[in-house]
Assembly symmetry: C2
Homo-oligomer: 324 residues x 2
Amino acid sequence: MSTASFFSKGLLDSGIGEVINPDTYFQTNLPPRTLPEDEKKVKEFVNKHNKAGRRIVLITSGGTTVPLENNTVRFLDNFSAGTRGATSAEYPFNSFLQFSLQPYSRHYTHSTNCFLDFIELKNDGHIEVISQYVPKMKSILEKYQKVKQEGALLLISFVTVADYLFLLRSVTQIMKDLNEHAMYYLAAAVSDFFIPSQKMVQHKIQSADGGLTLTMDQVPKFLKPLVTNWAPKGFIVSFKLETDPFLLVDKSRQALTKYGHQIVIGNLLTTRKQEVTFITKDSEPKMQLTEEEINNNIEIESKIVPELVKRHDEWIKNAQKENS
Amino acid sequence: MSTASFFSKGLLDSGIGEVINPDTYFQTNLPPRTLPEDEKKVKEFVNKHNKAGRRIVLITSGGTTVPLENNTVRFLDNFSAGTRGATSAEYPFNSFLQFSLQPYSRHYTHSTNCFLDFIELKNDGHIEVISQYVPKMKSILEKYQKVKQEGALLLISFVTVADYLFLLRSVTQIMKDLNEHAMYYLAAAVSDFFIPSQKMVQHKIQSADGGLTLTMDQVPKFLKPLVTNWAPKGFIVSFKLETDPFLLVDKSRQALTKYGHQIVIGNLLTTRKQEVTFITKDSEPKMQLTEEEINNNIEIESKIVPELVKRHDEWIKNAQKENS
């Protein structure tokens, strides 16, 4: 009964899969409508913190979607709740710009952890957090309010891979003048394949007639222009998620060599919350949580972030030596 | 520069798209691991409310995903935040089983509406909801606590289309004995296409070599066995989402005729929060919010639900007449 379904990639022999370059991508796809507004916010944010002598980290997180229709009902997505980026943003970077999932509130937005279970209506008409939940919520609230008061966090949202790429280009170019003081923490799970909008159908694909064949182009690799042109002096950290442990280090090192940036953090789908590998030009140390740390709900981002801040310090010192 | 990307469906001539029947689907795909647990919970829930003489509504909402790899990094998804189902569950159905997004807390989980902005730390160490937000939160909290105390809501979650279909079959078969007293409110956006697991690649698809061609089978239409065998006496409401206004009523009526159930609620992607069409055997009235209602944040579900409850009342009366 089963049909001739198959699954393949890289059918180069049939003319599919020619890789377009980033310039062509930007010429043939539409920017998000909110881009000018977002650029304005980012400029203000960058100017303010730059004047105050604070470093700025761009954190990207979450998955990007690939619409299959212009009036989009169906889309391709990447596994990503954006947890890596949102969690990392809660550890002491200096000040940061963030794409996607909101830090802080992530603690209370999962359906198994509904904040309505944590509050109660009092006789005097107030609504209070139930006392047993106060300590944890207090610590999150204090951090959140501090960041808010200092204006240290700017959230910019995206949905599609095109939204993401246009934003990424704009933001990194705005941050370019920060030179070595900027860090780029690229944890977003960017789609590798897409359907160019001029080849997309207008309306919802109907299902009445049988199966579906989709042929997608490859999304250009944007790390190349980012490292080379958009933010050439920045400290750039990318992430590589794999499912096959035998591929992880090789694929991560290939990316580092190809793009020439500073660090690739390799992680496996199944163990990403307990273990990562830092791939740099001359080393590849693993960072792991101990059994005890896991039991105490220590998050691996609490180790990743300070390590990166330290390496970024060295990056700045070296750049200043070279400049002097 | 652009490649030979194309987009087509229903390539029946190449042997793609043969439609398998539901039985074959269940024989060749794996149930979710949590199915036995979920079935147990559903049985307890149904027994309890049935004994108490309460009606039960099964609400399904949200999108289902279609994994592209066995170790899933990429998947196909449907546009759906599950808002229709979650919102509907807050209006007075009797007692209900719900698949997917949580009602009540939905009011505070959007990133533009972070509940951390609504609470404050007091000098005495309590955390309180800021007074201006109390009235709205009080009304939500009271409804939520009432439903919780009465055990009137059972939430069951799913991710993939296979999870959803196995759950749907189990739950409707458990509810079968409720006969005309059960309502099925099927608002989930179920994927129309999938890759059978035996044809799926094991690991993350690599992107180095160019584009991607995906060929997917059609997901069998499960409304047919649901209406005919799983819940033949139930009051069954399905949803039809389209983007093309000229197709909406025709497609909805086709579905009603094909499956033989009671109501198809047709809605358009762009206007779904303000307007729906009730397609029944002999009528197709529109239900719309007025300008004033929209300005007062009235939700269209506050009208859909009472209308369905009324029609379900009539359904029960008619069934009882026929039985007597």
